[in-house]
């Protein structure tokens, strides 16, 4: 930064202390806040009956995303800032950032975003993150296996490849499952893209054809073992695929995006008293309840991102006690060990430096 600009900023800070200049600016220009970056919904496109694409203009410049990554969107639900992560479906460098939201039955945030968002709405936005990515050098033979809203991160990849590296899609295969042809998000665009680039699109309509079993891949994509595969969809499908690749394929050639909040049905934590040492908050976590959920319910302001164990924004060092990672089932009990609070449930009393 130029020395003059730095001096101007220092002067502005001295005039607004103990607040920051942006605390004043953000009152009238909420998108300019750096502490709580925001975005304006510029346009809303209905994709299917329950999926909607939101075109966003961030107020402050976000780091450029990579295809396959997601952003967190925060909306106020009954006055409470509530965050969910959504895959970015636009290409890096596009003037607007697109996310496609599928309304989940009973989902407060997804329903509101998919069905009740008007252009002009302000949302809060987090930086792009996620490691469901294509490598820098695109592998020669690509396979995408998606189902339902699992299409979204792959759509970001396909759009980028179609614009910048069309050759990579020639000979690629995309197996996509949804209930009916009309339910396929981006259906027409996918079909056009396939025809234009030489990608083979295999649509499976589960209402009539039933669910895709990994064994079926042998018929659909005979050379699947020779391909690098990116898969995103319901947890059951991903579990099936992971098993299948582990049994008969090369597990390192399979990249999956488990894009769903973890479920705590298996109650793998015993619960306990959680002390957030830095925040000075103590919370009681129920059986299998993650540290973050318990802490937030007790009023702690904790670092949070995807809330499903993907982005590692919420990581904090364990000071004492033990936790179970609900996604991996691992137990962590070493002091100083960083744990993901959004998916770690306490095994007894726990203190964490957050």
């Amino acid at each position: 930064m130029a020395p003059l600009a730095r001096r101007v900023i220092a002067a502005a800070r001295a005039l607004t202390t103990p607040l920051l200049p942006e605390d004043f600016v953000s009152v009238w220009r909420p998108l300019r806040s750096r502490r709580a970056p925001g975005a304006r919904v510029v346009d809303v496109r209905r994709e299917t009956t329950d999926a909607t694409t939101l075109l966003l203009r961030p107020g402050t410049s976000l780091p450029v995303h990579q295809p396959g990554q997601f952003v967190g969107l925060g909306v106020q639900v009954d006055g409470v800032w509530t965050w969910r992560s959504y895959s970015i479906t636009s290409r890096p460098g596009d003037p607007l950032l697109a996310v496609t939201v599928t309304a989940v039955p009973g989902g407060l945030v997804s329903t509101r975003l998919a069905h009740h968002t008007r252009p002009g709405t302000l949302v809060r936005i987090s930086e792009p993150s996620g490691d469901f990515l294509l490598p820098a050098a695109t592998p020669e033979k690509l396979l995408f296996v998606t189902a339902g809203s699992g299409i979204t991160p792959v759509m970001g990849m396909l759009r980028t490849l179609a614009a910048r590296n069309t050759a990579a899609l020639d000979g690629a295969v995309h197996v996509h499952s949804d209930r009916t042809a009309a339910d396929v998000v981006f259906g027409p665009e996918l079909r056009t893209l396939a025809a234009r680039t030489g990608m083979r699109l295999v649509e499976r309509h589960t209402a009539t054809q039933g669910r895709l079993r990994p064994d079926a891949l042998t018929d659909l994509v005979p050379d699947w073992t020779a391909r690098h595969t990116w898969a995103c969809g319901p947890a059951d499908m991903l579990d099936d695929l992971t098993d299948h690749w582990e049994r008969v394929g090369d597990p390192t050639a399979l990249h999956v995006e488990r894009f769903r909040p973890p479920t705590w049905d298996d109650a793998s934590g015993t619960g306990g008293r959680v002390t957030f040492a830095t925040s000075g908050v103590t919370a009681e976590a129920g059986e299998g309840e993650p540290l973050m959920a318990a802490g937030e319910a007790a009023g702690a302001l904790l670092p949070a991102g995807c809330r499903m164990g993907i982005c590692h924004t919420c990581v904090g060092p364990l000071r004492s006690g033990a936790v179970r990672d609900l996604l991996t089932g691992d137990t962590h009990d070493t002091a100083g060990q960083p744990v993901r609070t959004c998916v770690s449930a306490p095994l007894g009393d726990v203190t964490i430096d957050l």
Partner: protein, 387 residues
């Protein structure tokens, strides 16, 4: 027994006290369950109004040589400072708005326009004052370690001057609070080390100097030839804020009709008894909606002490319910206008500057227990020297 249940609640049985606790818990739960968009909108509006008044006031004061600009700017800045300290700062630092999970309006991120850094103040206020409210020897806010506000505090000749130094306290209230938070009385007692106090003094100074620079150097300089008039305007706004907040806060716990308690009261205190102590140890101010906002809703001191982390905009609607509980359980609910209540505070300070006062302010025929030296209210060094 008086020593454990106070005076005004001596008629209540243990079961009644538990039932009262449950009723107050229910009032709290009904509000907390109902918090939503309208509340979020309220606090955001107060933030917007406060920032607008501050920015507008300071802009007007760049032209403070024009008398009308001086008056309007000073008024806007005074109101902005009052809102900032009271309806925003005090209440946000209580965690009243933490439920929104908004990093912009949260007790862990908020810093206020006050000499006392928010972290330091939160400890002395949220924990010590709100937990041990009006317990003599435990609640340092009872007289702020320099005043005799109950006859049970042993008299000292320095108190003869308290009606006078109360005026100074009022004018420099924010500084007094900051110095008070360092707890020099505890250093003297030996329960706190000099090094700790010195470190805290440094923290305060680091924050305070930037605010002094803003109000008394930078904005005056920006006003060019109006530097002196901007300085007087800023000083006036700070004075108005100090005098106002001092008056409101002193009316919270020191008017007539408010009880103080013996340390023995804390032993095995139940939730219901805690509620009753908060009820009996606080007093409300009556007034219109704007008055309540300007007091940071500390005009609902009783409701605030019962539910310190319930958003302040809700105190008004629960006040009638709390009053009803008090009526049914035969407990006093102390309330009055600001002039009336402040009048009783000043009269009390004047009377208790002299020895005695048990007859007028003792409140009960119960014997006055001698305070143990370690927990007794001690005079800070300054007051002792003055004596």
């Amino acid at each position: 027994m008086r020593t454990t249940t106070g005076v005004a609640d001596a008629h209540l049985t243990e079961e009644q006290i538990d039932a009262l606790g449950a009723e107050l818990d229910a009032i709290r739960a009904s509000v907390v369950d109902d918090l939503g968009e309208a509340d979020a909108h309220y606090i955001r509006t107060v933030v917007r109004v406060q920032r607008g008044l501050e920015a507008g006031g300071r802009t007007l004061l760049l032209f403070s040589r024009v008398p009308a600009a001086w008056v309007a700017g000073t008024a806007a800045l005074s109101v902005a400072k009052i809102l900032e300290n009271m309806e925003l700062g005090h209440n946000i630092l209580h965690g009243q708005w933490d439920w929104m999970r908004d990093p912009d309006i949260h007790s862990t991120t908020w810093e206020w326009d006050h000499a006392s850094p928010s972290q330091m103040w939160k400890r002395s206020h949220n924990y010590e004052h709100h937990t041990f409210t009006n317990v003599r020897g435990k609640d340092r806010d009872l007289g702020y370690a320099i005043m005799r506000v109950t006859p049970e505090q042993p008299w000292h000749p320095a108190y003869l001057l308290q009606p006078i130094y109360n005026i100074g306290l009022s004018a420099f209230f924010e500084w007094a609070i900051a110095i008070y938070d360092i707890e020099f009385d505890r250093v003297q007692e030996g329960t706190k080390t000099w090094d700790e106090a010195k470190a805290e003094m440094k923290t305060i100074w680091r924050k305070a100097r930037t605010q002094l620079a803003k109000d008394y150097i930078l904005f005056p300089l920006l006003s060019g030839r109006g530097a002196v008039s901007t300085l007087t305007a800023n000083a006036t706004a700070a004075l108005v804020r100090n005098v106002w907040s001092h008056a409101v806060i002193f009316c919270g716990h020191f008017p007539d009709g408010v009880e103080t308690f013996d340390e023995a009261r804390l032993e095995g205190e139940s939730r219901g008894q805690w509620y009753i102590r908060q009820l009996l140890g606080s007093a409300n101010l009556t007034g219109g909606p704007l008055f309540h906002i300007m007091t940071g809703n500390l005009s609902h001191q009783i409701e605030h002490h019962l539910f310190p982390d319930v958003p302040s905009n809700r105190y008004r609607e629960i006040a009638p319910q709390v009053q009803d509980v008090c009526r049914r359980y035969g407990l006093p609910y102390s309330s009055g206008t600001l002039p009336r209540q402040y009048g009783t505070v000043l009269r009390r300070l004047a009377r208790l500057a002299f020895p005695g006062g048990h007859k007028r302010y003792g409140g009960s025929p119960a014997p006055v227990r001698k305070l143990r030296p370690r927990t007794g209210v001690r005079l800070p060094a300054v007051a002792r020297r003055a004596a």
